[in-house]
């Protein structure tokens, strides 16, 4: 009795198979029919063009409005808050420090006027930094208050140079050139892709600056200088385990005749770097400047080279074409070369020896 029925039952299709088949068919038909047609253009059209949507094939044939920006009306003044001036904070980041983020959150400049830009190298360390940064950004941007206007995270399109191995002094300097050239490229990439038509000020703030006055932007802008740089220090514990501080950034300096003479003798591709015993430049470093009044935070000095740890620049200076040269420019590179290039364009850099920001201490 069972035998003849067997094969019949075997041929009978399992209902589960039928259901799966139908579901699959529906999906296949759906996707086949969907890719060809433009799907819901209304959803993207309503989006503000300023939000820079990621290009996708399904954004094709959307009719976007013509955007007008009158740069004659972008003000750059002593009182940026009253004039609602947009600030772009740019950070080349190798490692994420929680202190950096906390300090950034403490800035009293209205956050809805601040756009953050980060550029992170594409290596293992960079991935970790991106993850940590994104977690913090998600936390901040989801909250209703203290939200930044926009956050742009970029990943470098070139490999970071290998960590310098110390062999000979000359080799070290050669490494320095490669490292700082890569840094310049990262800074330029970040700058030229994030600088918007409405930006008034650009604040360069390194990822390892962990302490600044909360009024940093307003304070620096109030000097009304095209390029202004505070003094970068580092807090540490001295031998007696007492808190102390020491100068950190030696890239802010006034030029010396010795340095000029040295430069004149150099080949076109040579760099005149600060802080090498082989090349005593006798430049006046802002880090060690002795001013009469140590408490006058508003004291200004003119500079020929600037450091990039914290640096406020008028957007105009960058728009005119002042960038961070990734090649020896008058024997200078990166931020020091930037100061020189700005000078060639007619913008003078200024330093604030008594206004301090603090670098992370390992």
């Amino acid at each position: 009795m069972a035998r003849p029925m067997g094969p019949v039952r075997l041929r009978r299709t399992n209902p589960v198979t039928v259901i799966i088949g139908i579901v699959l068919c529906t999906f296949i038909i759906y996707f086949l029919s969907n890719t060809g047609s433009s799907s819901r253009p209304t959803a993207s059209k309503s989006r503000n063009v300023n939000s820079k949507p990621v290009p996708k094939s399904n954004l094709a044939h959307i009719r976007r409005d013509v955007q007008r920006f009158n740069l004659n009306h972008v003000t750059i003044t002593k009182d940026p808050i009253a004039n609602r001036e947009a600030v772009l904070i740019l950070t080349p980041m190798a490692r994420f420090y929680q202190d950096y983020w906390d300090n950034l959150m403490k800035l009293s400049y209205p956050h809805d006027l601040i756009t953050l830009g980060f550029i992170i190298p594409k290596n293992k360390e960079g991935n970790a930094a991106t993850m940590a940064l994104q977690a913090q950004i998600a936390k901040t941007q989801k909250s209703a208050t203290n939200k930044f206007r926009r956050v742009i995270i970029e990943r470098q399109d070139f490999d970071p140079p290998l960590a310098s191995q110390d062999e000979s002094e000359r080799h070290k300097m050669e490494n320095q050139k490669v490292r700082r050239a890569a840094m310049s490229k990262a800074r330029n990439s970040l700058l030229f892709t994030t600088l918007g038509p409405d930006t008034s000020w650009v604040l360069w703030l390194d990822g390892d600056i962990v302490e600044t006055p909360p009024t940093l932007i307003q304070d620096l802008a109030s000097h009304d200088k095209p390029i202004i740089v505070p003094n970068c220090y580092q807090r540490y514990k001295d031998d007696n385990n007492k808190a102390a501080e020491r100068a950190y950034d030696f890239n802010s300096w006034q030029d010396s005749e010795t340095a000029q003479e040295l430069a004149a003798k150099m080949g076109p591709e040579d760099l005149l770097l600060e802080g090498y015993e082989a090349l005593p430049t006798y430049r006046t470093l802002m880090a060690y400047m002795e001013l009469d009044d140590k408490d006058d935070v508003r004291a200004e000095v003119p500079l020929d080279g600037v450091g990039g740890t914290a640096l406020l620049v008028r957007a105009d200076v960058h728009r005119d074409g002042a960038m961070f040269p990734p090649f020896p420019f008058y024997h200078l590179i990166e931020t020091e070369g930037f100061a020189k290039m700005a000078k060639r364009l007619g913008w003078q850099a200024t330093g604030l020896p008594n206004y301090k920001v603090y670098h992370y201490n390992e």
Partner: protein, 506 residues
Amino acid sequence: MGILDRTRSKSLPTGLSNGNRFAPEDDSQWLTRPFALSRFQPRASTPATRRRRKLVVRVAIAIAVAGLFACFVWPGTASFISIFSLGLLSSDNDGLLDTVRYYDLSNVQGTARGWEREERILLCVPLRDAEPHLQMMFSHLRNLTYPHHLIDLAFLVSDSKDRTLDVLIERLEDQQADDDPKQPYGEISIIEKDFGQKVNQDVESRHGFAAQASRRKLMAQARNWLLSATLRPYHSWVYWRDVDVETAPFTILEDLMRHNKDIIVPNVWRPLPDWLGGEQPYDLNSWQESETALTLADTLDEDAVIVEGYAEYATWRPHLAYLRDPYGDPDMEMEIDGVGGVSILAKAKVFRSGCHFPAFSFEKHAETEGFGKVGTINPRATRNGLTNEIQMAKRMGYSVVGLPHYTIWHLYEPSVDDIKHMEEMEKERVAKEAEEKEKAEKEKKIKEQFGDANNQWEKDKSEIQNLAKEESKKETKAGGDTEKSDSQGAKKEISQAKDEAQKVES
């Protein structure tokens, strides 16, 4: 052999112990078991349960299909689907989506076949008092074959006194509202910025040697402002185009992109009226460096600018423009050291890494290139400029290439000298015309006189003939003998009249 033996000896016991041989039987047992059980049930109940199950399955399938179909067809369920497919993240991250952007710059390097990989181009056009050229430019824009939605347009309108801005907006809006879905472009930004340029835009002041350096520097500044305000992390290419290009291939973007170079320029010529030779190299800013120029640069101070094509600076550089062969291979490449700004295709990474148009003298060159209303020069004295961006690009190790046999044509605008020449030619022409007119009138007069004489003669002739006929009729009536002599007399009269007529004629 040993291996074979071992495998066999291994497989045999397992086969036996596991009852491999009986496996099919096992299967059939498993399949038939429920059936075997049902044998003990009342016969009628089996089909009933089976039918019910069948019904349940069918209903379930129908509901599932209908549900899926509804999901796809009904647009309101888009969010409903996303809950199933992408999880709860998206609904939570609305605030993030609006303000946070993540870009990997290694995805926008630019490749030889960008249109297939959906690479975005930023098309930059600096404008100044360019109203008369806008129509021509938009006809070029309409015809570009590169997918329009992948091209973002950026215009800089500076120091314009005519209706450039209004006309531009009007035309752009028309373009975006075109019936053809392939016409609208991607993002369009118009940047307005007045630099307060003091250099007059008329021909003589623009091309005077003294004005070149500062003019170039101002133009470089304008270009930098435009680029820095509009370049975004998703652009793979940047294309600079002057507004007054008259003729260019529709496929120019693809043609240049195909070479996969960091910076590439076509040859730029311009058509001329016949009396000037028909055509002429226009852009002399694309050149190869020469020893002479390098030596010259060493003798100048740091703010000096070497400008190509002026007698003051004889550089002896080989120019891309003069190497053109109209029948040459358009794909032929030539390494160059300076480029002209009429039409430059560059990878965005070049500009990202910091190359720009130096608004200062960089290694003795200030970059600038014609912008706005350009170009009216004496055919022999040429217009020039150096794109110093290239000097920087070279320092950074980028490839800079020109295509000597791939030509685009710049608009011809007559220079002051040309206009003078033309006026002279016009005068000559008018004089010649007047002369010709006079001549024609004279001829006409003579002809009229001719015509009168002829008419007179015809009249006289017919009258005389009539007279003769009448007379001969009378004669025939009167008598036969006198007939002959009379008719002869008549003939005599006719010949006399003829003589008279001939006299008049002469």
